[in-house]
Symmetry: C2
Subunit: 247 residues, 2 copies
């Protein structure tokens, strides 16, 4: 989080930052985004985006005759210089602009570092307006059948085997102690390694749920105890997955 | 969680359980639900619902000419007998029925006990299909600007003052130790008591965010450090709020 003194002079016109969800599976714009997204997005001319090419493709897919070549995009991805982004972003806020924030897929500022830019909006006194859209974490939690009144999301687990196994054991303990469903994700090509670790190192009574390729035609959501999974000949597909554990 | 032996004979036709989100603010059906909900729901005749009156009102609000009087509803709210619900529900699954699960507001099985019924669907081998819709938790997290790569939801905090203050201090510690945003909710008439406790007992550098009446025209999302909140003359409105804390 950048540090900034709190009381800035209020700007003449209050800027607005719309947080725009994008689809999590191909060709699902109209199935997974509500009308408010289709109405609001075509009115926005200035965008903070994780990736310009993805952003343009998304805007075209809305089929709202958005003049894409007239829009201004600033990339906030990992190759961008935060001070350059910030200078541009601040000038937009000062001018009372309506700005859109988008990530590669799903809800911006969740499971990605976009929250920093939302935080700035609050500090500058801009209005922050999140829009409804697909969240793989919420769909996975709903679909898992695991406890939804207390849960935690941890992002990616460590790549190092020993550290990952340690984390899994810690997640199992946390889950039992707090009656908390534990959610985490993995890079698709490592799904099967993670799965082996889960089956090998978690207790046979622990519940394990997998939600793969959510909102796609081949979506798969399945929940069993570790001991039940042992009896199945299952390996997770190399697609985006959410894993959920409850002990 | 009910206990049940795992391997049941597969049913002739695979039943499907759709998890149906409902609006979280009045008159926002068309703004917050995607087309898939409007298409799928009118095809369902059997519903597990938290409250029948709310469910009927929701179905009417879709304006899809649903023959509401021909539908079958089973209430799963706190006054229902779980064994009665289970018997009815199981007979639907055995018959390969398409079933809808709905809670009072938002995503079913999140921040409510509906997950038990999803868990049964998995054990019976039914297909579980969560639909996209508004989640006050995700909208609040996106809108807060607080860390979205590691977060936890805790439901309601204890009613007892001493226990609540203890929990707040624990949340603050957890947040610092795990770099984890802490989310919790409160009954609207207790919002102001909780707010006073937060301002009195949390560290002045801790970030506190409030997201009130999300998706409604008077929605309010604001994030400051506790020390900044002290300088403001703010009391939360007596409406549904999500509170977020990060230290």
């Amino acid at each position: 989080m950048f540090e900034l003194s709190f009381d800035l002079a209020p700007f003449a016109v209050k800027a607005r930052l719309f947080l725009i969800p994008t689809p999590i599976a191909s060709d699902t714009v109209l199935q997974t985004l509500p009308a408010s997204v289709l109405e609001v997005v075509p009115t926005i001319r200035f965008f903070l985006v994780e990736n310009i090419r993805t952003a343009r493709r998304f805007l075209a897919s809305l089929k709202q005759n958005i003049p894409i070549d007239d829009l201004t995009f600033v990339e906030i991805g990992k190759h961008s210089d935060p001070t350059v982004v910030l200078t541009q972003y601040k000038s937009w806020v000062e001018a009372g602009t309506t700005i859109g924030l988008m990530s590669e897929a799903g809800c911006p500022a969740i499971a990605d570092p976009g929250n920093v830019w939302v935080q700035w909006a609050h500090q500058w006194g801009a209005e922050v307006l999140p829009l409804v859209g697909p969240s793989s974490l919420m769909l996975a939690l709903m679909g898992s059948g695991l406890h939804g009144q207390c849960f935690a999301f941890h992002g990616y687990l460590p790549i190092d085997t020993q550290a990952r196994v340690q984390k899994l054991k810690w997640l199992e303990k946390q889950s039992a102690a707090l009656h908390q469903t534990q959610l985490f994700i993995e890079t698709p090509f490592r799904n099967q390694t993670l799965w082996k670790d889960l089956l090998q190192h978690c207790h046979k009574n622990t519940w394990l749920s997998i939600a793969a390729n959510l909102t796609a035609p081949d979506q798969l959501i399945s929940t069993y105890r570790i001991g039940q999974w042992h009896q199945k000949n299952f390996a997770p597909p190399k697609v985006p997955c959410v894993f959920l554990l409850m002990s």
